[in-house]
Assembly symmetry: C2
Homo-oligomer: 180 residues x 2
């Protein structure tokens, strides 16, 4: 499989961004190819398109599966496994939100809780625990809020995101809206 120049350049860009997105270069490139190609792809095709080894593709696919970013398909009469990305980009965004929360927030929440139940051994510890408390409360809020978004339909999410500067106004009107 050969990529068109258009896809090629985006694939390279996704590769460069991969590491910033918590993946890595190959994973970024692999996902770009899968997203930008209409037909389901098998490992050999990905390997050829990106010029990387078959085993590297295997490891990458494993990782993309663990992120729930790809869907496995079978093509009648072919024993190979084929992969596609969800059709709805909102689904993809939600999945990324879920997974990043799991990886970037949840472990720290646990760690912060552990620190909060320790007995402070000095005045430094008392101060540290204050800050830990603040961080914990903030992260917990973000985490539960993110859980909220994860359970919204794509349509509702779109509504929310389109609000733009209307958001502030709605917050002001919140009490009225909820008849409080």
């Amino acid at each position: 499989m050969k990529l068109t120049p258009l896809s090629q350049s985006l694939v390279l860009h996704f590769g460069e961004m991969g590491s910033r997105w918590g993946l890595n270069r190959t994973l970024g490139q692999m996902y770009a190819v899968i997203v930008l190609t209409e037909a389901p792809l098998n490992a050999d095709q990905i390997s050829e398109a990106l010029q990387i080894s078959r085993s590297n593709v295997s490891m990458g696919l494993k990782e993309l599966k663990s992120w729930n970013l790809i869907k496995l398909q079978h093509i009648p009469g072919d024993r190979k496994e084929y992969f596609t990305a969800p059709e709805d980009v909102w689904e993809i965004a939600k999945t990324l939100l879920v997974e990043r929360r799991k990886r970037e927030l949840d472990p720290t929440l646990t760690s912060l809780r552990d620190a909060l139940v320790q007995e402070p051994s000095s005045s430094e510890d008392v101060y540290a625990q204050q800050r830990i408390r603040e961080m914990h409360d903030l992260m917990e809020m973000i985490s539960s809020w993110s859980g909220e978004l994860e359970n919204m339909s794509s349509g509702k999410l779109a509504t929310l995101l389109t609000l733009g500067s209307g958001l502030s106004k709605i917050l002001e009107a919140k009490d009225r809206l909820l008849n409080k």
Copy 2:
């Protein structure tokens, strides 16, 4: 400067999470020390607390400055530079949001726009551009919405995050109100 066991264990955790947060281990550890310590710290103190070289601290501080995560202070009668973290964790969160948007979204938005103005050279390109359009619109929405959050006061942000499941209800109420 020696860390208490309480701080020590959180510093290690922040180090482990550092790379997942788009920083790296040392940067995560450095920031933990600065956040958890009440007094402003100088480079030598950080170097000693984390057992890393002075030059490494210098590079780390440079990076933390570029993220706008630390504030420089001077202590009368001392030529060294001292650093603290913002007192308000909400400020820190907002800064992280701003910077991650800049690093993780903006470059890709540019790249997607470039791809959209290209002339498609085949039917594959036509499909790819559809998906690129979807990604672009989604990312643009997220980006502008994130800009919205960045300009909110901490108080308003807290209100928004505390809404929890109320969020859906408010969106519904809004639609009713506007007779949609």
